[in-house]
């Protein structure tokens, strides 16, 4: 047996393979690597452990992390504590899903290709767009890919970016923009927390797109109506929370050219921020410029329905330099989670789930707003997240809350978007009336 019990080759297997190659030592396989390079790669001193030892060790590490299974969480800001139906872990753990290759060979991949097609259809339904790809890495990179696509379609290089965008997404945009030679201009928000449309310049020369998020980083729902008219033939790019689309009018109805989003709320655990899931949808006329992979439906020689990878010439395995994007194989297992989640929750289930999020968030917001020393920062409509302004120090508040078993929200100070002390508080369907009453009571006494 090899030192690691999960490596199936025995020393005898290795000896026979080497003999076939006319070699005597495994090291000879690496003979063409220069010695000075090889010297940099020294063994890191890992000793093989039995599965039982690994399980004990890693379980100890896991036990040192505070998590939303122990704490009542009001944390959001991009990743949310939604309930994940048990069915998802069971189905995605089937070995045929878990261990299959990227679906290049359609005959071996009809299962994957079929659910990819379902996933794309569901994303189109949610966003009211015409075509969706089968996933990107996360909400931030999906948005940055949308920016690149808008540049490629319009041939222009200037983008307007809402200041109310998730600051991590903003960093992604800046990284991509630096590489692609794009210019970003910030559009401020008003006292409602919504985009200040008066700040959108009348002059749209060289304007490739306007990038907004709804609900935005502050949880405020943007009014997308008329935005497309203001920017004329530049792209309207909208980042969404997919759960909110159970109840909110989809961006496709407001003339959005590209809709992206973070798919984590759709049945994916928070997992310290990854793996996540990027959503991406656009209009059919731009399909050849769309990044990422796509499954399509066709018929075989006997006329039976089958699924295949479609329009692959966009992808980097065909032509790396000219590809629309270098994201091909990505979060497929997470996209499967989202597909099973949406199938499980269903059409009307998603609406009631979204409304439950919205109603509960408003219940807590109104309660907190009545506490002396606390106020809602923005007056605009919100979904399941809102900003509370307070005279008290957020660090101390959060410490008090934590001692009482709560993750109290996100202190917005490090993001430098707002003056004063501000907490971003998220409420999902998991939160009960009792939990929210206790939360408000602690704030009152703090």
């Amino acid at each position: 047996m090899s030192a690691f019990e999960f490596i199936p080759n025995t020393p005898e297997d290795q000896r026979r393979m080497l003999a076939e190659l006319g070699l005597s030592d495994v090291e000879q396989l690496f003979a063409d690597i220069p010695a000075e390079v090889l010297r940099k790669f020294q063994p890191i001193g890992l000793e093989p452990l039995s599965e039982l030892e690994v399980s004990n060790l890693v379980s100890q590490m896991a036990a040192q992390n505070a998590h939303t299974g122990q704490y009542i969480s009001f944390l959001g800001g991009g990743i949310y504590d939604h309930y994940v139906p048990a069915i998802i872990a069971h189905l995605i753990s089937r070995g045929e899903f878990l261990t299959c290759y990227t679906p290049y060979q359609a005959e071996l991949s009809q299962g994957t290709l079929t659910w990819m097609f379902e996933f794309q259809t569901m994303i189109c339904e949610l966003t009211a767009m015409e075509v969706a790809n089968s996933s990107m890495y996360d909400g931030g990179s999906a948005l940055a890919e949308a920016m690149l696509m808008a540049k490629n379609v319009t041939g222009r290089t200037k983008f307007l970016v809402a200041r109310s965008l998730n600051p991590y997404y903003r960093k992604c945009l800046e990284t991509y923009a630096w590489g692609a030679g794009l210019e970003l201009f910030e559009i401020p928000f008003t006292e409602t927390g919504q985009l200040d449309r008066n700040a959108i310049p009348k002059e749209t020369e060289n304007l490739a797109g306007l990038i907004v998020q709804t609900p935005n980083f502050f949880g405020v729902i943007e009014d997308l109506s008329g935005l497309k008219d203001l920017i004329k033939d530049a792209f309207l790019i909208v980042s969404v929370n997919p759960i909110s689309l159970g109840i909110l009018a989809p961006p496709g109805l407001f003339g959005a050219d590209i809709v992206t989003g973070e798919g984590q709320p759709l049945g994916i655990p928070q997992s310290f921020g990854g793996p996540l899931l990027g959503l991406f949808a656009t209009r059919m006329s731009y399909v050849r410029k769309m990044p990422g992979r796509m499954a399509g439906r066709t018929v075989d020689a006997d006329g039976r329905i089958g699924y295949v990878m479609a329009l692959q010439t966009r992808e980097q395995h065909i032509r790396r330099e000219k590809a629309t994007s270098n994201i091909c194989t990505n979060q497929a297992l997470m996209a499967l989670c989202a597909t099973i989640y949406l199938a499980t929750v269903g059409r009307r289930g998603l609406r009631s789930l979204a409304e439950l999020n919205l109603q509960k968030a408003h219940y807590l917001a109104e309660k907190i707003a009545k506490i002396p020393g606390f106020a809602l920062r923005f007056s605009g409509p919100f979904f399941n997240e809102f900003v509370v302004q307070t005279r008290k120090k957020p660090a101390r508040l959060l410490k008090t809350l934590r001692d009482e078993g709560f993750f109290g929200g996100l202190d917005l100070a490090p993001y430098e978007l707002l003056d004063g002390n501000n907490l971003l508080i998220a409420v999902t369907e998991k939160r009960t009336r009792d939990e929210m009453d206790r939360f408000a009571k602690i704030l009152k006494g703090a």
Partner: protein, 112 residues
């Protein structure tokens, strides 16, 4: 596709609403969000029972071929066996329910 499965006439509950009854909400939705921002038409997602979801995706899984089914001699994505224990470890609550943007001291197991 999942849409071809038998459709339910009544919606399954996606989340308990005993303390916030959605049938008779305390606040009308339109008091909270302007009517023009509310969706008029539901997205055409499937509407099936959970056992139909299980059967559908179990059927699809059987139309796939992976390392668990047999040898997969493809190099670019390294089709090797991953010890199953990795799946269990990644699903431990201390990892699956950990959240970013928290103090390092509360996530010692992740940072070490």
């Amino acid at each position: 596709m999942i849409w071809e499965r038998r459709s339910l006439t009544s919606a399954p509950k996606a989340a308990p609403d005993y303390d916030f009854p959605m049938r008779r909400p305390e606040r009308n939705l339109t008091e909270l969000v302007p009517a023009e921002l509310i969706r008029k038409e539901d997205p055409k997602l499937p509407q099936v029972s959970q056992i139909e979801v299980v059967r559908h995706y179990t059927r699809l899984s059987r139309m796939n071929y992976g390392v668990d089914n047999g040898i997969y001699p493809l190099g670019s994505c390294t089709m090797k066996y991953n010890p199953r224990i990795n799946e269990d470890m990644a699903r431990l609550a201390g990892f699956a329910y950990a959240i970013p943007c928290r103090a390092r001291s509360s996530l010692k197991g992740l940072y070490d």
